[in-house]
Symmetry: C3
Subunit: 357 residues, 3 copies
């Protein structure tokens, strides 16, 4: 397929500088673009590619100042990344993943399950008793949907997603392969002889609308009540969410982060990769937590940035980290001071001046 700059600019409501009839046949990252590529620049640090790329059309932010001659046709928009994402989505709809339909022969669907219209259930997927599957839901091969689970319309489960009994999944939710929803929370009562007694976990997990969850992530069911992932949350791969946690709307969590039991995370937070958050705390709305940080206390004020383990205010933390690198020098300075002060003391004593104590 071929598209012109004019067609594209019309779709994304952009302004063209260059040839409206420039043509592209494929998309590529700006670093890898060739003749016929449609590409984009969202991050100003990629500006240099603007002057050297072979791409035919580039989508850029209105705010990007062009300081040298540019050969490709440019399309200016407010937010190049979002516009490009929009185009990819359209492209995706046309070209690939057209979506399969129907129930494949080797799937298992309980007689008491209720299946909506235009649903795909792949081979080796297991749909338990009393499950409700909404319209247009796609369940790829090898998934396990336990008894009494609800999956609302337009959601997509990639292969081998496992959902334990009694959990619910909203509309337009995407869950990637190998993710486990609703496994038992980690609750054990220590006994006098040192062994542990399991505390039954009789709650569930609720995943609201428009959530996306990566691969091999685990979200445990609540001991009682619900572990809740609110509308619009985006979670990456290999994340651990413990029992009774609640993640606020539009919060985004990078890979390998773990959140311990009963912690409540606010809305619009941005949590980096490999972060650890202890149990039973509250994280205010808009908190930003840098990668590998460890949170041990509640965050009361909104919209602050934290780093370190244990985590504290980002700017102070940066200073402490810088000094940490110079600790050997600091130690040397203290030693030098001690020697000089010793000499001064000795001199003063020679002058028959007496030091207290």
């Amino acid at each position: 397929m071929q598209f012109t700059a004019l067609q594209i600019a019309t779709l994304i409501k952009g302004n063209i500088s260059g040839h409206p009839d420039a043509k592209v046949t494929h998309v590529a990252k700006i670093e890898e673009a060739t003749e016929g590529s449609l590409s984009f620049i969202a991050n100003p640090k990629y500006e240099e590619y603007l002057y050297s790329t072979k791409a035919s059309i580039i989508i850029i932010n209105d705010s990007l100042e062009v300081t040298k001659e540019v050969f490709p046709t440019l399309i200016r928009v407010k937010d190049a990344y979002s516009s490009f994402a929009f185009l990819l989505e359209k492209y995706n709809e046309i070209i690939s993943r057209r979506g399969k339909n129907g129930i494949e022969q080797l799937a298992y669907v309980s007689k008491t399950a209720s299946i909506g219209k235009n649903v795909y259930i792949g081979a080796f997927s297991y749909i338990g008793d009393n499950v409700l599957i909404g319209d247009n839901v796609k369940i790829l091969p090898g998934c396990y949907i336990g008894d009494n689970v609800v999956i609302n319309e337009d959601s997509k489960l990639y292969s081998a997603v496992k959902i334990y009994e009694g959990c619910s999944v909203g509309s337009r939710v995407i869950i990637h392969s190998g993710t486990v929803i609703g496994g038992d929370g980690f609750g054990f009562a220590p006994q006098e002889d040192g062994h542990y007694k399991k505390v039954p976990q009789i709650g569930n997990v609720i995943i609201e609308d428009d959530v996306e969850i990566g691969s091999n992530t685990t979200i445990d069911r609540a001991t009682m009540g619900s572990t809740i992932i609110r509308k619009g949350v985006k979670m990456d791969n290999l994340i651990q969410i413990a029992h009774n946690v609640e993640i606020g709307e539009n919060t985004i969590i990078a890979a390998q982060t773990g959140i311990a039991g009963s912690t409540k995370v606010g809305k619009n937070c941005v949590i980096g990769g490999q972060v650890g958050i202890v149990g039973h705390i509250h994280i205010a709305d808009g908190t930003r937590i840098n990668a590998q940080s460890g949170l041990t206390k509640s965050v009361e004020a909104s919209n602050i940035t934290l780093t370190g383990s244990p985590a504290f205010d980002y700017k102070s933390s940066l200073k402490s980290q810088a000094i940490f690198r110079n600790l050997p020098e600091l130690q040397q300075r203290i030693q030098q001071l001690e020697e000089t002060v010793q000499e001064l003391t000795t001199l003063l004593v020679h002058q028959n001046l007496e030091l207290k104590k």
Copy 2:
């Protein structure tokens, strides 16, 4: 279903303060309890809820002092958490997860496998050659049990547990979805040209009785001999146990922790989340390791608490962490000292006093 305070107190051998005929219809966390809720308080920091909750019956510790008027009926026991866990277990047995039986039609069971009584094998589960499955074992859909595996009585595997050939699982073991037991240990011999040669991993994994393992955890088989998880160990989600590791009885490990090859962890240890432990070391019985710590050396003395990366004694570590936050101030104080000492030196020199060197 409805239960009275008297019925509950009889079951858990507790003492009632309030109305023996108070009735509950459901269980709830103390923060979320409503009329008709049975709840409990185990942690004294939740005491405040005692005076404000709408719960009808609350189980509390004998040791909890009630300082204001309380409306719900109280049942006092030695250990409220364990008593509540016991009730949930009874409730669980009656109400839910009644357990399926039999071999579902779409399961694959080798002709040479031996299956006990009252066993459930879900659809899409694969039972290899010479496998031994004990009585009352439940294998949910989509599990893979390799050749020559043994699973003893009353164990439960949730969906999509994978056990490689030759491993053994004790009695009353629970393994959650997506966990992999017996994958190859990570052993490669570096070659002169920079590539690595795989060292075949011909050992296995032994999981003893009463172990529980969370979701998407990985436990590698030994190079030779066995990786061993001793009786009563409780492991959370996304944990990595490398080849030839041994975890002692009743040790508890939180999510996302990793233990490298050949390390031996003692009994009754408590290991936090996201901890890393290097290979080839010993951890003494009763060691407590805080979340995100990194252990690089053996722990010889029993029952100590460690924190940090690299980890050291908890109290010292807390002090160092506190000073770390104040490093900018410390640096300032050193600079101030240097300036003052410089002035003092200059003054003394003016007095015709000579400093050595």
Copy 3:
């Protein structure tokens, strides 16, 4: 089966000290060896076992100096570990995992898939449209191979490996259970109202020859282009590789490490466990990164060792860490200095000497 020292020495081209007709019936780690064991010592710190073991034959490095009387028969080679690995491999070929063949009845294979010779496809494995499977490929039960995937000859996928559409796997690749290849990269464009818009991920993952990947690892597909794992890379369990990452030849990565989007890792790097590497950086060839480190900047010079979070030069980092433990003492020394300097100042003032400001 029984082997003599002479047979073994011939296979691995070693020199015998002791009885060429000494016999072994099994292999064991040197710490656990009994009569009839074949064992090896590669690490000099295990030398003590040489004098106490009951093993019948031990393979050791040419370089190991024997300082006391030794009872077992020794076979000396250049690299004991590699020789032992070679023997295990031979043993493995003969004894175990003889490999199944054919397509099991409960597998699903698309009519448009092309399957090579001597292939095994286990029950409950799903082979999508237009998939190409090379000769001698083994796909254990419960795998998912999406449309248009290519798997080249002699590769082995353990149970429940999931490969999304359009990815390619080289020859002699081993992938362990539960690993997900080709899930969507974590790309979302923030919108003004706080919600995120998904950026379609239309690239793929390319895994080159001779790669081994552990259990429950996740490798995301590229946004555009390819996420690439180069020839000979060895990856452990529970690792996260984000979209558009490239890992250079013969690099080895331990468990639970995460590498963020678009980062390029060089050849022959050695990356420890639980390491985090931010996105969009380059790591030079031969870089060694210690466990739990956090890399935030590109590494330009080759063959250096890094540690800490944020990571810096290993030796400096060790020094800073040592001083970190002594921060309470350092703080005390500063306080002592401040007091002494204060006394000196007071004394000088008494002498009518004036300090500037």
